[in-house]
Amino acid sequence: MVWMLRLTLPLAGFWLVLSGHYTFLLLSLGALTLVIVTWIAWRTDTVDRAGVALHLSPRLPLYLLWLAKEVFLASVAVSRQVWSLRPALRPAVDLTPVGDMSELSQVIYANSITLTPGTLSLTVDDNGVEVHSLKASDIGELQAGEMHGRVRRLEVR
């Protein structure tokens, strides 16, 4: 039941903001859509047992704002490399630990790493995220764990 709500509520929101026509006909078609898609999603869950659900933490918007700031700063740094006459690129590959994160948090963490220019997640498993970066200090920053901590705090509810 909780599973269904977690899935259906975002989908319902998606339909409502997209639609913009709140007539009886379109709302009932929307309800029909939600029934069909939820049913298909339920079937996929029994097939792949991936057990992924959108845990929308109330802290998520705050995290996204912080991430946006990081992305902006990193973009400025990489852009300066792009435009400098002799780009000082010292690529490095190293592992940054994930600790005992849930799978979804690992994904958020790895994608945040990729989203920030200058760092890129290569592989993800329980040992950690293998990161490729334009300079070694970027990986050091990740290993220091600020982003990791913020992603961790998204889990706490």
Binding site: L18, V82, L89, A110
Partner: protein, 107 residues
Amino acid sequence: MSASLVAELVSGVLLAAGGLFVISGGVGLLRFPDFYTRIHAVGITDSAGAGLILLGLLFHTTSWDTAVRLVLILLFMVLTGPTATHALAQAARRDGVHVWREGERRR
């Protein structure tokens, strides 16, 4: 100053900054020495460039429908963009695409 003028100004600044990032990424895609470093360049256009341009458009509109779609596009790009690049990088890594180190010939 009226609110709409401020919105116009903010939108202009965001669009200009976004355009700058977008071009930077494109130039980086050509200038950087190997596949992995180029991904970082693409990262600038896809995250900062796209984000700023979409935000700029968001300040440019007064219609609710349009604003919703801009936000949705932004959300989907945040979701799919890094996933696609990560998948690419992981597949390239698995295929043994060489990681360029400083001082090597560009490829």
